[in-house]
Amino acid sequence: MSNANFDLHVVARMTNRLIVGLFGAFLLAGMYIHFSFHFLTVFFLMLSVMNVFYLRVQKKHAILRNFGVLGQVRYMLEGVGPELRQYLFSSDTEERPFNRVERSEVYRKAKGVDSAMSFGSALNYDATEIKIRHSMYPTAAEDLEPFRITVGEERGLASAYTLTRPVMISAMSYGSLGAPAIRALGRGARMAGIPMNTGEGGHPKHHLMTGADLIFQMGTAKFGVRDEHGLLDDDKLRDLAALPEVKMVEIKCSQGAKPGKGGLLPREKITREISELRGVPMGQDVVSPPSHAECASPASTVEFIQRVQEVSGVPVGIKFCVGDPEEVRVLLEEMNHQRIYPDYMSIDGGEGGTGAAPKPYLDGFGMPLLPALCKVQRLLAELGVRDKLKVFAAGKLINAAKWVHGLALGADAIYTARGFMLALGCIQSLQCGNNTCPVGITTHDPDLQHGLDIEDKAERVKNYVEGVTHDFDELMRSLGVRSTRELSPAHLYVPPASILAPEIGA
């Protein structure tokens, strides 16, 4: 409401007088010309009454007190501002966290339509975007090796799990997502032949119904496998890991959206179902501590990893967001000392998505994925741990080029959560924490869930995986490599203004 050229206060005062004046004028017109003018009389009378209320009676809104109904216009515009910006005024590359160009690529992949673009890049091509270095000698299609990594092979596990596609569905709990979204994701994952992480929502009842391969995530509150004190209950974990669908277990140490922060499940949200799945009593708040009670030091963390490996009998990973790389170094040294290694490490970028997190954590905590990945990769190599485990990466890796970035910087496979939400039809209306998701993904409101057709969306999840994998294979051939193991940071061109420039020069 600030404009130096004219004084809004004067304009508002004149408007407010004009309203009263028009009331009088139409009153006379109604009396002497035609009674129909009284429609306008009443209209301006109502405006005048509102004005008296705004200017004299109410005290909460300074703008309404000073400007009257004109001030109301401001609130109306502000109320529809987000929608107007998204639909009319934002350029294609402006929105966050994913701009329209990135989103529509996922939508097109999910719908199985061509995503070629014409005439040039819409991104800030020269300054910040990382480029992939192609080879003058692309790989022939028949020379490309099919993607294949086996998690747990380092320990020689009979239960080692083989991935045949470079991507997996990252952790999203039942709770943050509604049941139909979980079902659609699970079915899509099964059709595409990729595993799905359950998130920290406890016993994966809804995931299990889909028949997808599951990575069971154990959050700091150990929902689904906790004893009455919130510590790990070995028997429950053993039973769960014995389910044929549960292929791996992931210990979540931290998450990029809120590293170092626990959570609180308010008692109002604990329905009978949630209470059963998560293994918590009804009628009282449940606290997710910021870390696992069993993991108070590097030594006890490694011991806990070993315990989970022994109890579950399946490959076990840890998920964290890098804060101080030196802490990672100490943890790796401890692993070397005890000769215990997780079967994989999943690195979450500080840009990480979530259903809900406090704004300072969301915006201002944790290392961004690509530099974090570089650091971890270097530490792993330096300490001789690289060939003891696999590395997964998550953080906005939603298209084939981003997958190449992640794999070139050291990841063995890609995790994405929001990429799959977009494939489900997420329109990024940023309401995940409000139970009001307009497309029925992060809501438990049956009316809103009605919009999400499980069959149709499962198909889209599958199309998305296949579409991006197809792109990825093409990129691999243009890179002139035959398997992802050949990828290295040297395959990336990093412009000086990129976030990666301090790690890898151009």
Binding site: S36, V42, F43
Partner: protein, 137 residues
């Protein structure tokens, strides 16, 4: 929705306020609904009035329609505020009609409805969505 429909903006409305609100709603909706039905079934008294105003018959149906809509909206808690606003506008029109063309007989009912609408508007003022948007940010 949870914190906004109270009498003074915080806490629960007292029992007295709730009773007053519902009395105002029932009186306003009752009179509005009755007047609307008379208009919509073309009662001869209404035809007379609207002939005097030069609005027969379309104006009669229009006003009757607005009255029945406002009566219903007043009874539904979520829309009471807006129903009362509409009802107040119609009653202003009725009062203008009585003061300028129809004579004062019968104006007391319009006044009564208008007062009830003002009561509803005042008690429910925190339901105004545009203002609430600002606070909920």
């Amino acid at each position: 929705m949870t914190t906004t429909s109270s009498d003074v903006g915080s806490g629960r409305p007292s029992a007295g306020i709730v009773v007053l609100l519902w009395v105002a709603k029932l009186v306003a909706a009752g009179i509005l609904g009755y007047a609307a039905i008379l208009k919509l079934i073309s009662h001869e008294h209404e035809i007379e009035i609207f002939t005097t105003l030069g609005w027969e018959p379309h104006g009669r149906f229009l006003i009757g329609g607005m009255e029945i809509v406002s009566a219903i909206m007043i009874l539904v808690p979520q829309s009471a505020l807006y129903g009362a606003f509409l009802g107040l506008g119609v009653m202003f029109g009725a009062m203008i009609g009585h003061l300028t063309a129809l004579g004062l007989a019968g104006i007391h009912l319009a006044l009564l409805v208008a007062v009830c609408c003002v009561i509803i508007l005042y008690i429910r003022r925190h339901d105004a969505t545009f203002i609430r948007n600002l606070w909920d940010r």
